[in-house]
Protein backbone atom coordinates (compact mmCIF):
# COMPACT_ATOMS: atom_id res chain seq x y z
CA UNK A 1 0.00 0.00 0.00
CA UNK A 2 1.23 3.45 -0.91
CA UNK A 3 0.07 6.52 0.98
CA UNK A 4 1.96 9.79 0.59
CA UNK A 5 -0.40 11.83 2.74
CA UNK A 6 0.84 13.65 5.82
CA UNK A 7 -1.28 15.08 8.59
CA UNK A 8 -0.35 18.75 8.32
CA UNK A 9 1.52 21.36 6.34
CA UNK A 10 3.76 21.77 9.38
CA UNK A 11 4.75 18.09 9.23
CA UNK A 12 5.35 18.39 5.50
CA UNK A 13 7.96 21.15 5.74
CA UNK A 14 9.41 20.17 9.12
CA UNK A 15 12.73 18.89 7.73
CA UNK A 16 13.51 21.89 5.51
CA UNK A 17 17.15 22.77 6.05
CA UNK A 18 18.87 26.13 6.15
CA UNK A 19 20.30 26.97 2.74
CA UNK A 20 17.75 24.85 0.86
CA UNK A 21 16.63 25.72 -2.65
CA UNK A 22 12.83 25.94 -2.65
CA UNK A 23 10.78 26.00 -5.86
CA UNK A 24 7.48 27.74 -5.17
CA UNK A 25 4.71 27.17 -7.70
CA UNK A 26 2.38 29.89 -8.86
CA UNK A 27 2.22 32.73 -11.34
CA UNK A 28 1.07 35.86 -9.62
CA UNK A 29 -1.61 34.70 -7.20
CA UNK A 30 -2.77 31.69 -9.24
CA UNK A 31 -1.35 28.44 -7.92
CA UNK A 32 0.43 30.01 -4.97
CA UNK A 33 0.64 27.45 -2.12
CA UNK A 34 -0.21 29.93 0.62
CA UNK A 35 -0.64 27.43 3.48
CA UNK A 36 2.66 25.66 2.72
CA UNK A 37 4.46 29.00 2.53
CA UNK A 38 3.09 30.08 5.88
CA UNK A 39 4.09 26.73 7.36
CA UNK A 40 7.61 27.29 6.06
CA UNK A 41 7.69 30.68 7.78
CA UNK A 42 6.72 28.99 11.06
CA UNK A 43 9.29 26.25 10.48
CA UNK A 44 12.07 28.80 10.39
CA UNK A 45 14.61 27.58 7.83
CA UNK A 46 17.00 30.36 6.82
CA UNK A 47 19.23 31.38 3.92
CA UNK A 48 16.82 29.92 1.41
CA UNK A 49 17.12 30.26 -2.34
CA UNK A 50 13.61 30.60 -3.77
CA UNK A 51 12.58 29.91 -7.36
CA UNK A 52 9.32 31.52 -8.45
CA UNK A 53 8.23 33.46 -11.51
CA UNK A 54 7.75 36.56 -9.39
CA UNK A 55 8.85 37.71 -5.97
CA UNK A 56 5.68 37.71 -3.96
CA UNK A 57 2.59 39.87 -3.81
CA UNK A 58 1.40 42.04 -0.97
CA UNK A 59 2.39 40.82 2.48
CA UNK A 60 1.27 37.20 2.45
CA UNK A 61 2.62 33.92 1.13
CA UNK A 62 5.96 34.26 -0.66
CA UNK A 63 6.17 38.00 0.07
CA UNK A 64 5.75 37.21 3.74
CA UNK A 65 8.51 34.57 3.61
CA UNK A 66 10.79 37.14 1.98
CA UNK A 67 9.81 39.78 4.54
CA UNK A 68 10.74 37.37 7.34
CA UNK A 69 14.36 37.63 6.17
CA UNK A 70 14.67 33.92 5.41
CA UNK A 71 15.32 34.26 1.70
CA UNK A 72 18.92 34.92 0.69
CA UNK A 73 18.30 34.78 -3.05
CA UNK A 74 15.42 34.92 -5.52
CA UNK A 75 15.58 33.25 -8.93
CA UNK A 76 12.74 34.63 -11.02
CA UNK A 77 11.76 36.24 -14.31
CA UNK A 78 9.79 39.21 -13.03
CA UNK A 79 10.42 40.39 -9.45
CA UNK A 80 8.21 43.44 -9.88
CA UNK A 81 4.48 43.24 -9.59
CA UNK A 82 1.59 45.47 -8.72
CA UNK A 83 1.29 44.67 -5.05
CA UNK A 84 4.92 43.80 -4.44
CA UNK A 85 6.74 46.06 -2.01
CA UNK A 86 8.64 43.60 0.17
CA UNK A 87 11.17 42.39 -2.38
CA UNK A 88 12.04 45.78 -3.94
CA UNK A 89 12.79 47.28 -0.54
CA UNK A 90 15.09 44.43 0.52
CA UNK A 91 16.77 44.34 -2.89
CA UNK A 92 17.53 48.04 -2.90
CA UNK A 93 18.89 47.67 0.64
CA UNK A 94 21.26 44.97 -0.63
CA UNK A 95 19.71 42.37 1.67
CA UNK A 96 18.63 39.86 -0.94
CA UNK A 97 20.26 38.51 -4.11
CA UNK A 98 18.49 38.27 -7.42
CA UNK A 99 19.04 36.09 -10.49
CA UNK A 100 16.77 37.26 -13.30
CA UNK A 101 16.03 34.51 -15.83
CA UNK A 102 13.82 34.84 -18.90
CA UNK A 103 10.51 33.16 -18.14
CA UNK A 104 10.85 30.45 -20.80
CA UNK A 105 14.45 29.74 -19.83
CA UNK A 106 13.35 29.45 -16.20
CA UNK A 107 10.68 26.93 -17.21
CA UNK A 108 13.03 24.96 -19.45
CA UNK A 109 15.79 24.87 -16.84
CA UNK A 110 13.34 23.38 -14.33
CA UNK A 111 12.06 20.86 -16.86
CA UNK A 112 15.67 19.94 -17.77
CA UNK A 113 16.42 19.27 -14.11
CA UNK A 114 13.45 16.96 -13.95
CA UNK A 115 14.41 15.22 -17.17
CA UNK A 116 18.09 14.59 -16.37
CA UNK A 117 19.39 17.12 -18.92
CA UNK A 118 22.26 19.09 -17.36
CA UNK A 119 22.33 21.79 -20.05
CA UNK A 120 20.68 22.88 -23.28
CA UNK A 121 20.93 25.61 -25.88
CA UNK A 122 18.31 28.32 -26.34
CA UNK A 123 17.98 31.34 -28.65
CA UNK A 124 16.44 33.36 -25.81
CA UNK A 125 18.54 36.28 -24.52
CA UNK A 126 21.27 36.08 -27.17
CA UNK A 127 22.81 39.53 -27.54
CA UNK A 128 21.23 40.84 -24.35
CA UNK A 129 22.68 41.60 -20.92
CA UNK A 130 21.12 38.38 -19.58
CA UNK A 131 23.51 36.39 -21.77
CA UNK A 132 26.57 38.20 -20.44
CA UNK A 133 29.27 35.76 -19.41
CA UNK A 134 27.35 32.78 -20.73
CA UNK A 135 28.71 30.36 -23.31
CA UNK A 136 27.22 30.74 -26.78
CA UNK A 137 27.37 28.43 -29.76
CA UNK A 138 26.15 28.47 -33.34
CA UNK A 139 23.92 25.79 -34.81
CA UNK A 140 22.96 26.10 -38.49
CA UNK A 141 24.28 29.65 -38.55
CA UNK A 142 22.21 30.90 -35.63
CA UNK A 143 23.56 31.74 -32.19
CA UNK A 144 22.29 30.11 -29.01
CA UNK A 145 23.12 30.43 -25.30
CA UNK A 146 23.88 27.40 -23.15
CA UNK A 147 21.76 27.21 -20.00
CA UNK A 148 22.12 24.75 -17.10
CA UNK A 149 19.39 22.79 -15.40
CA UNK A 150 17.86 24.29 -12.26
CA UNK A 151 17.33 21.76 -9.49
CA UNK A 152 15.48 22.34 -6.25
CA UNK A 153 15.68 20.60 -2.90
CA UNK A 154 11.99 20.99 -2.27
CA UNK A 155 9.01 22.16 -4.29
CA UNK A 156 5.89 23.68 -2.71
CA UNK A 157 2.86 22.98 -4.89
CA UNK A 158 -0.85 23.77 -4.83
CA UNK A 159 -3.05 21.19 -6.57
CA UNK A 160 -6.77 21.01 -6.95
CA UNK A 161 -7.13 17.22 -6.56
CA UNK A 162 -4.55 14.63 -5.54
CA UNK A 163 -4.82 10.91 -4.95
CA UNK A 164 -2.86 9.20 -2.21
CA UNK A 165 -0.20 8.14 -4.75
CA UNK A 166 0.42 11.80 -5.53
CA UNK A 167 -1.25 11.95 -8.94
CA UNK A 168 -2.34 15.56 -9.44
CA UNK A 169 -4.71 17.76 -11.36
CA UNK A 170 -4.82 21.54 -11.15
CA UNK A 171 -7.38 24.30 -11.63
CA UNK A 172 -7.00 26.19 -14.93
CA UNK A 173 -4.00 28.55 -15.07
CA UNK A 174 -3.05 27.64 -11.50
CA UNK A 175 -1.17 24.81 -13.25
CA UNK A 176 1.61 27.08 -14.59
CA UNK A 177 5.02 26.10 -13.12
CA UNK A 178 3.72 23.34 -10.82
CA UNK A 179 4.24 20.25 -13.03
CA UNK A 180 7.84 21.14 -13.89
CA UNK A 181 8.67 22.12 -10.32
CA UNK A 182 7.33 18.71 -9.21
CA UNK A 183 9.84 17.20 -11.65
CA UNK A 184 12.76 19.42 -10.64
CA UNK A 185 12.69 18.93 -6.87
CA UNK A 186 14.21 16.18 -4.75
CA UNK A 187 11.21 16.38 -2.41
CA UNK A 188 7.90 17.59 -3.79
CA UNK A 189 5.31 18.72 -1.27
CA UNK A 190 1.74 19.24 -2.40
CA UNK A 191 -1.22 20.88 -0.73
CA UNK A 192 -4.43 19.64 -2.34
CA UNK A 193 -7.96 20.96 -1.96
CA UNK A 194 -9.27 17.41 -2.27
CA UNK A 195 -7.63 14.02 -1.73
CA UNK A 196 -9.12 10.94 -3.38
CA UNK A 197 -8.36 7.23 -3.58
CA UNK A 198 -6.08 5.90 -6.32
CA UNK A 199 -8.20 5.13 -9.35
CA UNK A 200 -10.48 8.13 -8.81
CA UNK A 201 -8.57 10.33 -11.27
CA UNK A 202 -8.90 9.19 -14.88
CA UNK A 203 -5.43 7.89 -15.96
CA UNK A 204 -5.85 9.83 -19.23
CA UNK A 205 -6.21 13.18 -17.46
CA UNK A 206 -3.59 13.00 -14.72
CA UNK A 207 -1.41 16.09 -15.21
CA UNK A 208 1.40 15.28 -12.77
CA UNK A 209 2.00 11.53 -12.29
CA UNK A 210 2.58 10.51 -8.68
CA UNK A 211 6.19 9.54 -9.36
CA UNK A 212 7.04 13.25 -9.17
CA UNK A 213 5.33 13.75 -5.80
CA UNK A 214 6.55 12.83 -2.32
CA UNK A 215 4.17 14.33 0.23
CA UNK A 216 0.50 15.25 -0.02
CA UNK A 217 -1.42 17.33 2.55
CA UNK A 218 -5.14 17.98 2.58
CA UNK A 219 -5.90 21.72 2.69
CA UNK A 220 -9.63 21.68 2.03
CA UNK A 221 -10.31 25.43 1.93
CA UNK A 222 -7.10 26.99 0.69
CA UNK A 223 -6.74 30.73 0.96
CA UNK A 224 -6.42 32.26 -2.48
CA UNK A 225 -3.63 34.81 -2.53
CA UNK A 226 -5.86 36.97 -4.68
CA UNK A 227 -8.47 37.18 -1.92
CA UNK A 228 -5.84 37.92 0.71
CA UNK A 229 -4.43 40.73 -1.43
CA UNK A 230 -7.81 42.33 -1.98
CA UNK A 231 -8.48 42.15 1.74
CA UNK A 232 -5.01 43.71 2.30
CA UNK A 233 -4.21 40.87 4.70
CA UNK A 234 -0.75 40.30 6.04
CA UNK A 235 0.98 37.30 7.58
CA UNK A 236 1.75 36.56 10.31
Amino acid sequence: MIDKTLASVADAVADTEDGATVAVAGFGAAGSPVELLHALIEQGAKKLTVINNNAGNGKVGLASLIASGRVAKMICSFPRSAGSVVFPDLYRAGKIDLEVVPQGTLAERLRAAGAGIPAFYTPTSVGTPLADGKETRDFDGKTYVMEPWLRADIALIKADVADTHGNLIYNMTARNFAPIMCMAATTTIVQAREIVDPGSINPETVVTPGIFVDRVIHVPNPEHEDDLLRAARSYP
Partner: protein, 209 residues
Protein backbone atom coordinates in the same frame (compact mmCIF):
# COMPACT_ATOMS: atom_id res chain seq x y z
CA UNK B 1 -4.30 63.69 -37.53
CA UNK B 2 -2.33 60.98 -35.85
CA UNK B 3 -3.77 57.58 -34.96
CA UNK B 4 -5.20 56.89 -31.51
CA UNK B 5 -3.99 53.84 -29.59
CA UNK B 6 -7.17 52.04 -30.69
CA UNK B 7 -6.49 52.90 -34.30
CA UNK B 8 -2.88 51.74 -33.98
CA UNK B 9 -4.06 48.42 -32.60
CA UNK B 10 -6.71 48.12 -35.30
CA UNK B 11 -4.12 48.79 -38.00
CA UNK B 12 -1.85 46.06 -36.61
CA UNK B 13 -4.78 43.63 -36.45
CA UNK B 14 -5.35 44.19 -40.18
CA UNK B 15 -1.97 42.58 -40.90
CA UNK B 16 -2.74 39.37 -39.03
CA UNK B 17 -4.44 36.61 -41.06
CA UNK B 18 -7.34 34.39 -40.10
CA UNK B 19 -6.47 31.43 -37.93
CA UNK B 20 -3.27 32.96 -36.56
CA UNK B 21 -1.94 32.00 -33.15
CA UNK B 22 -1.25 35.33 -31.49
CA UNK B 23 0.41 36.51 -28.29
CA UNK B 24 -0.38 40.05 -27.20
CA UNK B 25 1.88 41.97 -24.82
CA UNK B 26 0.54 43.77 -21.80
CA UNK B 27 -0.83 47.28 -22.36
CA UNK B 28 -1.51 48.80 -25.77
CA UNK B 29 -0.92 45.54 -27.68
CA UNK B 30 -3.83 43.93 -25.79
CA UNK B 31 -6.22 46.22 -27.68
CA UNK B 32 -5.53 44.29 -30.88
CA UNK B 33 -8.06 41.73 -29.61
CA UNK B 34 -10.78 44.38 -29.77
CA UNK B 35 -10.22 45.03 -33.48
CA UNK B 36 -10.13 41.65 -35.15
CA UNK B 37 -11.23 42.20 -38.76
CA UNK B 38 -14.57 40.79 -39.84
CA UNK B 39 -14.39 37.13 -40.81
CA UNK B 40 -11.13 36.40 -39.00
CA UNK B 41 -10.51 34.40 -35.85
CA UNK B 42 -7.29 34.65 -33.88
CA UNK B 43 -6.31 32.15 -31.20
CA UNK B 44 -4.71 33.92 -28.26
CA UNK B 45 -1.82 32.44 -26.33
CA UNK B 46 -0.98 33.48 -22.79
CA UNK B 47 2.47 32.62 -21.41
CA UNK B 48 1.05 31.27 -18.17
CA UNK B 49 -0.33 28.17 -19.87
CA UNK B 50 -3.41 29.01 -21.88
CA UNK B 51 -4.39 28.88 -25.55
CA UNK B 52 -7.79 30.12 -26.66
CA UNK B 53 -7.91 32.96 -24.17
CA UNK B 54 -11.12 35.00 -24.29
CA UNK B 55 -11.96 38.53 -23.12
CA UNK B 56 -12.18 39.81 -19.57
CA UNK B 57 -15.36 38.35 -18.05
CA UNK B 58 -18.01 40.07 -15.99
CA UNK B 59 -17.13 40.54 -12.34
CA UNK B 60 -19.39 37.65 -11.33
CA UNK B 61 -17.88 35.23 -13.84
CA UNK B 62 -14.28 35.55 -12.70
CA UNK B 63 -12.11 32.79 -11.31
CA UNK B 64 -8.86 33.93 -9.68
CA UNK B 65 -7.21 30.84 -11.23
CA UNK B 66 -8.12 31.95 -14.76
CA UNK B 67 -5.78 34.84 -15.50
CA UNK B 68 -3.51 36.02 -18.30
CA UNK B 69 0.19 36.85 -18.33
CA UNK B 70 -0.68 40.32 -17.08
CA UNK B 71 -2.41 38.64 -14.12
CA UNK B 72 -5.81 39.97 -15.17
CA UNK B 73 -8.99 37.84 -15.21
CA UNK B 74 -9.84 36.33 -18.61
CA UNK B 75 -12.30 33.84 -20.07
CA UNK B 76 -12.06 30.81 -22.34
CA UNK B 77 -12.95 30.66 -26.02
CA UNK B 78 -14.19 27.37 -27.51
CA UNK B 79 -11.19 25.17 -28.29
CA UNK B 80 -9.13 26.44 -25.35
CA UNK B 81 -6.50 24.34 -23.59
CA UNK B 82 -4.37 24.53 -20.45
CA UNK B 83 -0.74 23.38 -20.23
CA UNK B 84 2.30 23.94 -18.04
CA UNK B 85 4.95 26.61 -18.41
CA UNK B 86 7.54 24.46 -20.21
CA UNK B 87 4.97 23.49 -22.83
CA UNK B 88 3.81 27.10 -23.06
CA UNK B 89 7.31 28.32 -23.84
CA UNK B 90 7.92 25.38 -26.19
CA UNK B 91 5.10 26.94 -28.23
CA UNK B 92 6.95 30.26 -28.12
CA UNK B 93 10.56 29.15 -28.56
CA UNK B 94 9.67 26.42 -31.05
CA UNK B 95 8.18 28.89 -33.52
CA UNK B 96 4.60 27.70 -33.21
CA UNK B 97 3.11 31.10 -32.42
CA UNK B 98 2.57 33.11 -35.57
CA UNK B 99 2.40 36.70 -34.32
CA UNK B 100 3.41 38.53 -31.21
CA UNK B 101 2.49 42.18 -30.71
CA UNK B 102 4.58 44.03 -28.14
CA UNK B 103 5.35 47.51 -26.92
CA UNK B 104 8.79 49.07 -27.29
CA UNK B 105 11.15 51.56 -25.72
CA UNK B 106 13.38 51.55 -28.80
CA UNK B 107 13.51 49.75 -32.14
CA UNK B 108 16.70 49.92 -34.22
CA UNK B 109 16.80 50.00 -38.00
CA UNK B 110 18.15 46.42 -38.02
CA UNK B 111 15.17 45.17 -36.00
CA UNK B 112 16.86 45.12 -32.61
CA UNK B 113 14.34 45.67 -29.85
CA UNK B 114 14.70 47.21 -26.40
CA UNK B 115 11.56 46.94 -24.29
CA UNK B 116 12.39 45.52 -20.88
CA UNK B 117 14.78 47.83 -19.08
CA UNK B 118 16.02 51.40 -19.20
CA UNK B 119 19.27 50.18 -17.72
CA UNK B 120 18.88 52.70 -14.90
CA UNK B 121 21.20 52.05 -11.97
CA UNK B 122 18.49 51.59 -9.37
CA UNK B 123 16.01 49.70 -11.58
CA UNK B 124 15.06 46.21 -10.44
CA UNK B 125 15.63 44.03 -13.50
CA UNK B 126 12.48 42.21 -14.63
CA UNK B 127 12.21 40.56 -18.02
CA UNK B 128 9.26 38.14 -17.85
CA UNK B 129 8.71 36.35 -21.15
CA UNK B 130 9.75 39.19 -23.48
CA UNK B 131 13.09 37.71 -24.53
CA UNK B 132 11.52 34.30 -25.21
CA UNK B 133 8.75 35.84 -27.29
CA UNK B 134 11.03 37.88 -29.54
CA UNK B 135 13.45 34.96 -29.97
CA UNK B 136 10.79 32.43 -30.82
CA UNK B 137 7.61 33.85 -32.35
CA UNK B 138 7.59 33.86 -36.15
CA UNK B 139 6.58 37.50 -36.64
CA UNK B 140 7.09 40.30 -34.13
CA UNK B 141 4.99 43.46 -34.47
CA UNK B 142 5.46 46.52 -32.31
CA UNK B 143 2.70 48.93 -31.32
CA UNK B 144 4.10 52.11 -29.79
CA UNK B 145 3.98 55.88 -29.91
CA UNK B 146 6.47 57.19 -32.43
CA UNK B 147 8.29 59.22 -29.78
CA UNK B 148 8.65 59.23 -26.02
CA UNK B 149 6.73 61.63 -23.80
CA UNK B 150 9.73 63.90 -24.04
CA UNK B 151 9.60 63.80 -27.84
CA UNK B 152 12.61 61.52 -28.26
CA UNK B 153 12.43 59.18 -31.27
CA UNK B 154 11.84 55.51 -30.46
CA UNK B 155 12.88 54.36 -33.95
CA UNK B 156 16.64 54.68 -33.87
CA UNK B 157 19.88 53.72 -35.61
CA UNK B 158 21.10 51.72 -32.62
CA UNK B 159 19.33 50.97 -29.36
CA UNK B 160 20.89 52.60 -26.33
CA UNK B 161 18.77 50.69 -23.83
CA UNK B 162 19.56 47.06 -22.97
CA UNK B 163 18.34 44.78 -25.75
CA UNK B 164 15.48 42.31 -25.62
CA UNK B 165 16.45 40.61 -28.87
CA UNK B 166 18.58 41.02 -31.98
CA UNK B 167 17.00 41.78 -35.36
CA UNK B 168 13.59 40.54 -34.35
CA UNK B 169 11.08 43.28 -35.26
CA UNK B 170 9.20 43.05 -38.57
CA UNK B 171 6.79 46.01 -38.38
CA UNK B 172 6.09 48.98 -36.15
CA UNK B 173 2.65 50.53 -35.77
CA UNK B 174 2.92 54.04 -34.29
CA UNK B 175 0.56 56.97 -33.89
CA UNK B 176 2.09 58.47 -37.02
CA UNK B 177 2.85 55.60 -39.38
CA UNK B 178 3.34 51.97 -40.20
CA UNK B 179 7.03 51.22 -40.62
CA UNK B 180 8.48 47.96 -41.93
CA UNK B 181 11.92 46.72 -40.92
CA UNK B 182 13.63 45.41 -44.04
CA UNK B 183 17.09 44.03 -44.78
CA UNK B 184 18.37 47.54 -45.41
CA UNK B 185 16.50 49.38 -42.70
CA UNK B 186 13.23 51.16 -42.00
CA UNK B 187 10.67 51.56 -44.77
CA UNK B 188 7.58 53.74 -44.52
CA UNK B 189 4.56 51.62 -45.37
CA UNK B 190 1.77 54.05 -44.56
CA UNK B 191 1.16 57.31 -42.73
CA UNK B 192 -1.74 58.26 -40.52
CA UNK B 193 -4.33 60.48 -42.25
CA UNK B 194 -2.99 64.03 -42.53
CA UNK B 195 0.47 63.10 -41.33
CA UNK B 196 3.19 63.97 -43.84
CA UNK B 197 6.01 61.56 -44.57
CA UNK B 198 8.44 64.36 -43.73
CA UNK B 199 7.02 64.69 -40.23
CA UNK B 200 7.48 60.95 -39.70
CA UNK B 201 11.07 61.19 -40.95
CA UNK B 202 11.78 64.12 -38.68
CA UNK B 203 10.65 62.11 -35.69
CA UNK B 204 12.61 59.00 -36.70
CA UNK B 205 16.27 58.90 -35.69
CA UNK B 206 17.35 56.68 -38.57
CA UNK B 207 16.95 56.69 -42.34
CA UNK B 208 13.36 55.96 -43.39
CA UNK B 209 13.01 54.79 -46.97
Amino acid sequence: MSWTPDEMAARAALDIPNGAYVNLGIGMPERVADFVPEGRTFVYHSENGLLGMGPEPAETERDPDLINAGKKPVSLNPGASFFHHADSFAMIRGGHIDYCVLGAMQVAQNGDLANWSTGAEDAIPAVGGAMDLVAGVKTIYIVTRHTTKDGEPKLVETCTYPLTGLGVVKRIYTDLAVVAVLENGFKLVETAPGVAADEVRKKTAAPLA
